[in-house]
């Protein structure tokens, strides 16, 4: 089954590649993403923080840029946490901490292990050939989690707090605009982008998975519960 899918997608990629070269007319898609988060009481409500949403276009593939994307390891964190790239692009993982880190993934999209290295070692790199979500971890520090979002083309952006985005150089034609945030269901909007057009769109993301009230994030001890059943 997987094999069949892989072959199909490969066929699609191969067949669409000449088209990309033939058609070079582009447009601009801009807009704003609002995030609906679950409130402690009641239903969903708009969140003030709409940062970290990956807005990207599907519907065509584009070759990976020559540039190397960078995912730094600093203060026992991956920086940035979400890194959108184009399939085939190389990502460099420099270690900015003075101690060892490790970079690996067991994802079915791209499983790799760069081994352990320190900051004085040259930054190791990995080519992400297949599109998909690749969670990347450090096998020394459990809290180090990052998401490499491998996309089909370079028409993508990561929102700031206001949720605004602007995608330039989007190939004209039938495309789909997507927005995704870890813990939320992807939203998608299909549109016909005319060459040279500037389209403005509003998207609303609903965070389906809520973070339970989980203490101990800061490492402080739990307050003693009133009874052993955790009230």
């Amino acid at each position: 089954m997987r094999l069949v899918l892989a072959v199909l997608s490969l066929a699609f990629a191969v067949s669409s590649a000449p088209l990309a070269h033939a058609e070079t007319a582009t447009g601009v898609v801009r807009g704003k993403v609002s995030v609906m988060k679950k409130r402690l009481f009641g239903g969903l409500g708009p969140s003030d923080d709409a940062s970290g949403v990956v807005v990207y276009v599907t519907g065509y593939t584009a070759p990976a840029p020559e540039t190397t994307a960078v995912l730094e390891q600093e203060n026992e964190r991956f920086q940035p946490r979400i890194l959108p790239i184009v399939a085939g692009q190389t990502v460099s993982f420099p270690n900015r901490d003075r101690f060892y880190h490790n970079v690996f993934s067991v994802s079915s999209v791209e499983a790799f292990d760069l081994g352990q290295y320190k900051s004085s070692d040259p930054a190791r790199t990995q080519v992400f050939a297949n599109p998909g979500l690749v969670p990347v971890y450090c096998n020394i520090h459990p809290q180090m989690i990052s998401y490499v979002v491998v996309l089909e083309n370079g028409a993508f952006a990561v929102t700031g707090e206001d949720g605004a985005f602007e995608l330039r150089g989007v190939r004209a034609g039938a495309i789909a605009l997507n927005a995704w945030l870890p813990g939320a269901q992807r939203v998608t909007k299909e549109l016909e982008l005319a060459p040279g057009a500037k389209v403005s769109l509003e998207l609303e993301l609903q965070q389906t998975q809520t973070t339970p009230p989980h203490t101990r994030k800061d490492g402080t001890p739990y307050p003693p519960p009133p009874s052993y059943d955790g009230d």
Binding site: P142, P212, H214, G230
Partner: protein
């Protein structure tokens, strides 16, 4: 004669002592037992409460440890994080690349199978399951090969999603989802306390860990070690785990149904009593999780009542021992006490019987120094008094009626023995023609007949409570009104005279039948002021009466010869006797040597005891007497003639007729006052 008593005094004392000691002992035992049981209940409740608190605390600590361990595990184990996070993200559809498949879950399961078994937490917990953030089962210790099952509908998982943590009580059936077991399939059912924790990094849930341990014998035993309370974990009719022995647990199984599911507040449950294998227990049904009652499962806490009563049993033995000792001492003392009382009493009883048998010389010697000795003294005095009185009584009864004698003895103060002047009625009785009888009969027969006569007369006198003063030849003198005052002495005397007449009449009939010439008899009664008293010398005396009236009574007795009558009474007696008698006025007489005249009457009978003919006779006689006194001799003669037609034998009528005919020929002087001089004695 000495009838043995039905119930000995000694037995009674013993019975009372025994009863008292037993009652005291029983009361003490009952009270002690009550107090002990009540205290055992209180103590048991405290220990039950402590056990539940200890269980709570133990579970809290276990839960806390579990949380810490899971937290530490997720925080320190990048492998677990990686597997959970990767599996959770595998379902994410970005719309690029390949569509999500189950391969990621299988991969996660395989990775977990290789990574988890070496963890201490995994080894320790019986239930250990891992799920993705979406609630898909990734690994279960009880069923390691299964994955992908949806756990999100399990209440515990919902709790974790809502509250960030959760705990639950799982019976075996609860510890399974479609297609996978979360708890091992033990041969015997078990109850698990399960806890779940999410794996969270940077406010993102990457999965969850569920771990749990059964509430087993080991846990209950550790609780018992703390509070000494036996525990049984029950679910429905089953006993899942218990600190009790196999046999007791089997016994408890049959009784689980008797326990009501507790109310919301388990600590307020009712303590009941039950017996297991011959040992009594106080028992309480309690919830496993306070405030979360479940009809399915619960604890039964048991505290041995017998063990609590062990101290009481020692006390009971001591009490019984002491009680028996007291009883023995009391019985000994009772015996001595009873002897001290019963022996003098037996002596007294014996002496009393002798006195009852007439042996008035019976005396007792009791020297106990208490009331019994006093009683003995009083008894002796009584015996002496009885002897004295018996002597007096015997003497008295010969002269006075038993009635009077008893009266005298009863109230000696009323008796005028020392001499008193008082109105009395005197009776003189004499037998006519007895001298002739004495000549005809042999001396023995004379005495016998004389005694029969005296018997009749004295019998009548004593019958009417008179006192026989003396016997004068064939005469008898009796009186009434002394020594006991008798206000109706004249009535009694008249009745006695009539009674004596009747007896003598009957006697005459018997004598005539015997061929003995029946004697006649005469009686005279007079009432006068007389002196009564003990008369005579110190050695020999008699209770008698003296006075002028005695003489008149004697004359009246003699006057019967003049009138041919049998009983004559003076007007004084007639006035005193009242209307209860029928009398006939006979005459007005002057006794020789006395100036005063006396009206004399014949005592005919008691009112109502006289027939109509006699009454007519008396009427005619009264008319004749009145005419005679008025010197109308003819009228008197006519009245007497009419009388004679009724009763030709009436002697007074004949006497009056003779006097009338004599006066007719030789009239009395003009100053005749109708008084007849009674000269003959």
């Amino acid at each position: 004669m000495a009838v043995p008593p039905r119930l000995r005094f000694r037995t009674k004392i013993w019975a009372v002592l025994c009863g008292f000691v037993f009652a005291a002992l029983a009361t003490a035992l009952v009270v002690a037992q009550d107090v002990t049981i009540s205290r055992a209940r209180d103590e048991s409740r405290t220990r039950f409460d402590r056990t539940l608190v200890a269980f709570s605390e133990l579970q809290r600590l276990r839960a806390e440890l579990l949380v810490e361990t899971i937290d530490a595990l997720t925080r320190t184990n990048p492998q677990l994080r990686t597997i959970l996070s990767t599996a959770s993200l595998a379902a994410t559809d970005l719309g690029v690349g390949l569509a999500p498949t189950n391969d990621a879950l299988r991969d996660a399961n395989l990775r977990l199978q290789s990574a988890l078994p070496s963890l201490a937490l995994h080894q320790r917990q019986v239930i250990f399951a891992v799920a993705s953030a979406e609630g898909e089962l990734l690994y279960s210790k009880a069923d390691p090969e299964r994955y992908g099952q949806d756990l999100s509908q399990i209440e515990l998982v919902r709790l974790i999603a809502d509250q960030g943590r959760g705990s639950a009580l799982w019976l075996d059936a609860d510890a399974a989802v479609e297609g996978a077991r979360l708890a091992p399939s033990y041969p015997s059912p078990a109850l698990y306390l399960v806890r779940g924790e999410p794996v969270v990094f940077d406010e993102e849930v990457h999965g969850l860990v569920i771990a749990g341990e059964p509430i087993d014998r080991a846990l209950l035993s550790s609780l018992r070690a703390i509070t000494g309370v036996e525990l049984a974990l029950i679910a429905g009719p089953r006993v899942l785990a218990t600190t009790l022995s196999e046999a007791d647990a089997a016994g408890l199984r049959g009784k689980v149904g008797a326990f009501e599911a507790p109310a919301l507040m388990s600590l307020g449950g009712e303590i009941t009593e039950l017996t297991l294998g011959g040992e009594r227990y106080l028992a309480l049904r309690a919830e496993i999780v306070p405030g979360r009652p479940t009809a399915q499962a619960g604890f039964i806490l048991l505290s041995s009542l017998d063990a609590a009563l062990a101290g009481f049993r020692d006390l009971r033995q001591t009490l019984i021992g002491v009680g028996l000792l007291i009883l023995a001492v009391a019985l000994g003392l009772g015996f001595v006490l009873a002897r001290g009382i019963t022996r003098p009493i037996a002596t007294l009883a014996q002496a009393a019987r002798r006195i009852g048998a007439g042996q008035f010389d019976a005396r007792v010697a009791i020297a106990t120094g208490d009331e019994l000795e006093e009683l003995g003294g009083a008894f002796n005095e009584m015996a002496a008094g009885l002897a004295e009185r018996e002597l007096i009584k015997q003497t008295l009864e010969r002269y006075v009626s038993k009635h009077v004698a008893a009266e005298l003895l009863r109230a000696p103060g009323q008796a005028a023995l020392a001499g008193v002047r008082r109105e009395l009625t005197v009776l003189f009785v004499d037998l006519g023609g007895f001298t002739q009888l004495a000549e005809e009969l042999a001396p023995e027969a004379v005495v016998a007949h004389l005694n029969e006569y005296f018997e009749a007369v004295c019998g009548a006198v004593l019958e009417h409570d008179g006192t026989v003063k003396e016997f004068q030849g064939d005469g008898v003198v009796a009186f009434w009104g002394a020594p006991i005052a008798q206000p109706d002495h004249a009535v009694r005397a008249c009745r006695a005279a009539l009674d004596a007449a009747a007896r003598l009449d009957a006697l005459c009939v018997r004598w005539t039948e015997r061929g003995v010439v029946a004697p006649s008899y005469r009686m005279g009664l007079h009432t006068a002021e007389l002196v009564a008293g003990e008369i005579g010398s110190a050695e020999r005396g008699t209770y008698g009466v003296v006075g002028d009236g005695m003489n008149l009574a004697s004359r009246l007795e003699g006057a019967n010869k003049v009138y041919g009558t049998r009983i004559l009474i003076s007007d004084a007696t007639r006035a005193r006797a009242g209307g209860g008698f029928v009398t006939r006025e006979l005459d007005l007489v002057r006794v020789v040597g006395r100036r005063a005249t006396v009206r004399i009457f014949e005592l005919v009978g008691a009112s109502g005891g006289v027939d109509a003919r006699t009454l007519s006779v008396l009427e005619h006689y009264a008319a004749a007497l009145a005419a005679h006194r008025a010197r109308d001799w003819d009228a008197a003669a006519r009245a007497l003639e009419a009388l004679g037609a009724l009763d030709p034998d009436d002697a007074p009528a004949r006497v009056l007729a003779a006097r009338g005919s004599a006066f007719r020929t030789d009239p009395p002087p003009s100053d005749w006052d109708g008084v007849f001089a009674l000269d003959a004695k």
